[in-house]
């Protein structure tokens, strides 16, 4: 165990001596010639995988290879929402495991990730939508997940300022998950990195994988910009670029890469204390502790690796915001940015072996990757360590598209830009 534990006492001690005693949170590791396991991708999922491999499965000879700096991808580009309000049996236990891991994350990692269970409210505007949310809420409760179906009077007590009697989209109520909320996303990457590092995991930054060593159908290591590295097992956790990386191992994936934009406004006084989604458009919003309104909407809808989007979707998202909350009309937009999503063919992720022995895949997170980070790490670590799927991730097979066992929450079929 390297480094110091964080506590109220260490904070007070450092406050008294001008914060001169803090060391780096993780080592600047040089790659070794060989590891038992290599994780490609130093984002939330890759770092979480390395942490759980070391923590729960006793595999500590692990390297996380990151082409840029850790947390430079989607873990720092999302709208920080965590929730487990899913519908289908393949998804609910997995996301609920994730929700439970979020609830104990800070104590587990000894790191302040600002986990805030402020609740998520999905508004409905018609009888048909109410039925759909009643079904979703019932599915959640059958799996032991908290869900409450609110009518408009109950929603009015939470948010009296919404436009309940709007002629076109009246607010009839909402589906509330109180345990859902937000988590400081960069702290998730840093917390997992620090905790993994303390268990002996090497975090190697500025180390891009440029190829795979495959001998007799088995992956025995990777080629990188910092030399070849041997490995007992290689796990890919590079969503956004999964197709590009897997192609180097000769694989073609059921995935398209799409850009999703997100937005933050200037800081304003507290206006919204939970997470809210608009049911008549695609718009979700919460307020950061600094006061900025953090919100987003649909993906742009065309393949992209550019990490930036175009103006029509900016307009569409802001129109959704204005329809839901006309009061934000004079708030100025501070920033917008884009992240690259692995949009899978059924809208659900993949955690599975690949046709190449020793090469494992964690991909296809669409735009639900952030909330899945802890469970994704746990289940991928389980797969890497035991060579069999974790009980909560059995449905996330790579071959489900050939066998017909799709997990299509929205029921739109093999059209990735509609999921």
């Amino acid at each position: 165990m390297a480094g110091q534990s964080y506590s109220i006492f260490s904070v007070l001690r450092e406050a008294l001596r001008g914060h001169s005693g803090w060391g780096p949170a993780w080592r600047e590791a040089e790659p070794k010639p060989r590891y038992d396991a290599i994780i490609v991708g130093g984002g939330g999922h890759g770092l979480a995988t390395a942490y759980y491999l070391a923590r729960h499965y006793g595999i500590r000879d692990v390297a996380v290879l990151e082409k840029g700096w850790i947390g430079s991808g989607n873990v720092g580009r999302n709208t920080t929402i965590v929730r487990s309000n899913y519908l289908l049996p393949g998804n609910i236990p997995f996301y609920e495991t994730s929700m439970k891991l979020w609830e104990g994350l800070e104590q587990d990692l000894n790191y302040n990730a600002m986990v805030s269970q402020r609740g998520i409210l999905n508004l409905y505007h018609s009888d048909a939508q109410r039925d759909a949310y009643a079904r979703r809420g019932n599915a959640m409760r059958l799996h032991g997940v908290d869900a409450e179906l609110l009518d408009s009077a109950q929603v009015r007590r939470m948010y009296p300022w919404l436009d309940y009697d709007n002629a076109r989209f009246p607010i009839k109520g909402g589906l509330l998950q109180r345990r859902a909320g937000t988590v400081r996303h960069d702290a998730v990457a840093w917390g997992y990195a620090r905790a993994a590092d303390r268990l002996g995991v090497d975090i190697v930054q500025n180390c891009e994988v440029t190829g795979f060593r495959i001998e007799g159908g088995r992956c025995t290591g990777v080629e990188t910009t910092r030399g070849a590295i041997g490995a007992g097992k290689v796990g890919l956790a590079c969503a956004g670029n999964s197709s590009r990386v897997a192609a180097m191992a000769g694989l073609t994936l059921p995935i398209e890469s799409h850009v999703l934009q997100a937005f933050v406004s200037e800081a304003v006084k507290p206006v919204i204390d939970g997470v809210m989604t608009f049911g008549a458009g695609h718009f979700y919003i919460s307020q950061s502790d600094k006061g900025g309104l953090v919100f987003g909407g649909d993906i742009d809808g065309y393949n992209s690796y550019a990490q930036r989007g175009n103006l029509p979707v900016v307009e569409d998202v802001l129109e959704g915001g204005m329809a839901l909350m006309p009061r934000i009309g004079r708030v100025r937009l501070l920033r917008s940015w884009g992240g690259i999503m692995d949009m899978s063919m059924d809208g659900s992720p993949i955690i599975d072996r690949t046709p190449v022995d020793g090469l494992y895949l964690n991909a296809g997170w669409c735009y639900g990757g952030f909330k899945a980070t802890p469970a994704s790490g746990l289940c991928f670590a389980h797969l890497l360590a035991r060579d069999e799927p974790h009980a909560d991730a059995r449905a996330y097979r790579l071959d489900r598209f050939a066998s017909g066992h799709m997990i299509d929450e929205k029921g739109v079929g093999n059209q990735p830009n509609l999921h």
Binding site: R244, L253, E256, N303, Y305, A306, N310, L311
Partner: protein, 102 residues
């Protein structure tokens, strides 16, 4: 990003909708390996980081299907053709189409 429709000229992106990779073609359902070929056709994508051929529909314009060649890393538009012309060229001389769209 603006697309130059061969019929209507350069238009805003919000006039168009995106379908997907234009390089996939419907396999022969009577072939021996039809099940595998249809799996690849329906689900597997090259998802190139770089120039790639895509099917777009000019939804609020002339209703033409287009094959747009676009660099997915930069959103630079490298060419726009009528999908009809591409399909006719493909049935006429399949090899030539592959070469120009590679």
């Amino acid at each position: 990003m603006r697309l130059a429709c061969p019929c209507c000229g350069e238009r805003s992106l919000d006039e168009f909708t995106f379908l997907g990779d234009a390089s996939v073609t419907r396999p022969d359902p009577s072939a021996d390996d039809a099940a595998g070929a249809f799996h690849a056709y329906a689900y597997l994508r090259r998802n190139a980081a770089g120039p790639s051929d895509e099917l777009w529909f000019h939804n609020t314009g002339c209703h033409a299907w287009l094959v747009v060649t676009r660099d997915t890393r930069t959103h630079e538009i490298l060419g726009v053709r009528l999908a009809q012309d591409v399909a006719l060229a493909r049935t006429g001389n399949r090899k030539d189409v592959r070469e120009t769209s590679a």
